[in-house]
Amino acid sequence: MDRQGQIINPSEDPHLPQEKVLKFYRSMTLLNTMDRILYESQRQGRISFYMTNYGEEGTHVGSAAALDSTDLVFGQYREAGVLMYRDYPLELFMAQCYGNMSDPGKGRQMPVHYGCKERHFVTISSPLATQIPQAVGAAYAAKRANANRIVICYFGEGAASEGDAHAGFNFAATLECPIIFFCRNNGYAISTPTYEQYRGDGIAARGPGYGIMSIRVDGNDVFAVYNATKEARRRAVAENQPFLIEAMTYRIGHHSTSDDSSAYRSVDEVNYWDKQDHPISRLRHYLVSHGWWDEDQEKTWRKQSRKMVMEAFAQAERKLKPNPNLLFSDVYQEMPAQLRKQQESLAQHLQTYGEHYPLDHFDK
């Protein structure tokens, strides 16, 4: 697709059915709506932290759509659209961000550290690139299990500088693992532009150095992302080898709510990408030109999606936080004596001094 949503090369048109493409669009826009509301909620002090996905929705949805639903996903932190595409409920996105008692993660992590077992999305962790060699191990196990499953591993161009990335690439190639390495090259690692991150030809150029077939795609073209991922998946399963996709995109939002990117880039630069090359706009042009979407539907959907998000948001806010006992469980599978003693000690402490703690906000 070009920036006006016109297919450039008809032989590369995936010819996806209307339902599927509409799902792409709804996933991306719902994510966008959720991002706006949760970003605002952090500004208002309702949640502690948030990271938006502005501008990268195409990378998430295009790749997620090309996978099987049982393919295991290892992400970094800016891949919420993959979960969105897999129909992760708004309620649970919110629960994790609020750290309330409905959070399947039991409220232990900062916001946006989602995880979902049923949807095969491994829980996010803050350290960068640690997921890369792990994804390779998981792919190796999938290969041994003959499960017709692959693993996809997302990371940014900044994380690709970590030693773990090098380790992961090399292991995947030498051990012949069915894995897709998906690099979101969005131009910045917090404030560090790509010129200060690497001097070579991006991430895709590193692949052949490891013996990994690599491709660079326009990350804001959801169909290009879809095509590349689809083909990579097909071959990874058939040939038990890794593939590297570098999706060129742009991080329209700040790195996180702790960042103000006007400190290191111009508003003009951001506006350019937002207005001229946004994955959502490009897909909308495509939909409209096919007669699959129009102004009225857009209006209706915006209202509807906003309403859905607001409802989930209000509910999440009202819920209690998890029981403090959950501080101590799951450190090990069984609770060792030392932790049990610490837990008892906290219980005793709260019995005496509970009035000094906001216990009413926590599940009993």
Partner: protein, 388 residues
């Protein structure tokens, strides 16, 4: 005058030492058990604590370990046994694991041909190259890869070639493996990961083939750290680590790989984790150690009895974390004195954790202690912890 006569004596002494060394070198060709028996007979009478200026011993010292391995009495509980050294006991455990668990895989640097310490000899031929395989030379990759296998539920047995090289994997161990279950709310875990690594002094290892890094990991909730003192212990503890539903680090005292020989059951068996073992009862002082140092401590206990009339209770800690506070405390209540000995550096070594925990229990007035408040004990003297 005195100096020259000293020099003369030293030259004579060195000549004598050289011939002794020659004898020892020939002895070196004898099988390990023979060497150990000779050492044991020679042992205490020769005076390991005599000054090294005793001329004829000077060259011999290089060929003599600082301890004698003392096997435990053979266990009858687990069926037929076979004479094994420590690396063979490890191989046996790995063999049992791969036989029993079709998902189990072993990987690391050089494991395919049998490993630099021969712990994986024969396993690749027996179980296939997809189950016993080399990885590239990258510890952070080895552990990260192992975590990933374990996340899918398969059993991952990773080898780090020397504990001295485990540090590149520290992030993966501490930030990832240890926290996987907790941070995901138990949606995911890597409990089926075990990391094995040669550990401890070997005589000639220098800074980078001798380290005991257990203290770094002791500070990390979510993993278990286990160190055996013998082949029998090694096999049982390693099998427990592999079966344990938490990521475990199993340190294997490399100096014991060949020097320690015992009857070890051929069939699989487990020894519980987080249980220290009182290997000798006593009444005057509690001695705590783990790994190789247990054997040093045993000799110390013998000397204490013979020369000082002191009755020592010896505890092999076995699991460093989570450690068996109860057993150590019960013992110190009985004896009133505690000495902890480990190879690792003194400052921040694991003896500090043990001694401070026991000390806390002693100081009932301490307002911040909340462990075992009903465990009252008197210490007759300070705690002493030394390093070997």
């Amino acid at each position: 005058m005195e100096l020259s006569s000293l020099l003369t004596r030293r030259r004579v002494g060195m000549a004598a030492a050289a011939s002794t060394a020659g004898r020892l070198l020939r002895l070196g060709a004898v099988r390990a058990e023979g060497h150990c028996r000779r050492l044991r007979r020679a042992g205490l009478e020769r005076g390991f604590l005599q000054p090294t200026s005793a001329g004829k011993d000077a060259a011999q010292k290089r060929h003599v370990a600082h301890f004698t391995f003392q096997p435990d009495r053979e266990s009858q509980e687990h069926g037929q046994t076979q004479k094994m050294n420590l690396f063979q006991a490890v191989t046996s455990a790995l063999d049992n694991s791969l036989a029993k668990d079709p998902t189990a895989v072993i990987f690391g640097e050089d494991v395919a041909f049998g490993g630099v310490f021969r712990c994986t000899v024969g396993l690749r031929d027996k179980y296939g190259k997809d189950r016993v395989f080399n990885t590239p030379l990258c510890e952070q990759g080895i552990v990260g890869f192992g975590i990933g296998i374990a996340v899918t539920g398969a059993t991952a047995i990773a080898e780090i070639q020397f504990a001295d090289y485990i540090f590149p994997a520290f992030d993966q161990i501490v930030n990832e493996a240890a926290k996987y279950r907790y941070r995901s709310g138990d949606l995911f875990n890597c409990g089926s990961l075990t990391i094995r690594s040669p550990w401890g002094c070997v005589g000639h290892g220098g800074l980078y083939h001798s380290q005991c890094p257990e203290a770094f990991f002791a500070h990390c909730p979510g993993i278990k750290v286990v160190i055996p003192r013998s082949p029998f212990q090694a096999k049982g503890l390693l099998l427990s680590c592999i079966e344990d539903k938490n990521p475990c680090i199993f340190f294997e005292p490399k100096i014991l790989y060949r020097a320690a020989v015992e009857q070890v059951p051929v069939e699989p068996y487990t020894i519980p984790l987080s249980q220290a073992e009182v290997i000798q009862e006593g009444s005057d002082i509690t001695l705590v150690a783990w790994g190789t140092q247990v054997h040093v401590i045993r000799e110390v206990a013998l000397m204490a009895r013979e020369k000082l009339g002191v009755s020592c209770e010896i505890i092999d800690l076995r699991t460093i974390i989570p450690w068996d506070v109860d057993t150590v405390c019960k013992s110190v209540i009985k004896t009133g004195r505690l000495l902890i000995s480990h190879e690792a550096p003194l400052t921040g070594g694991f003896a500090s954790e043990i001694s401070s925990t026991v000390q806390m229990l002693h100081t009932r007035r301490n307002p911040i202690h909340f462990f075992w408040e009903d465990c009252y004990l008197k210490l007759f003297s300070h705690l002493y912890h030394g390093y070997g």
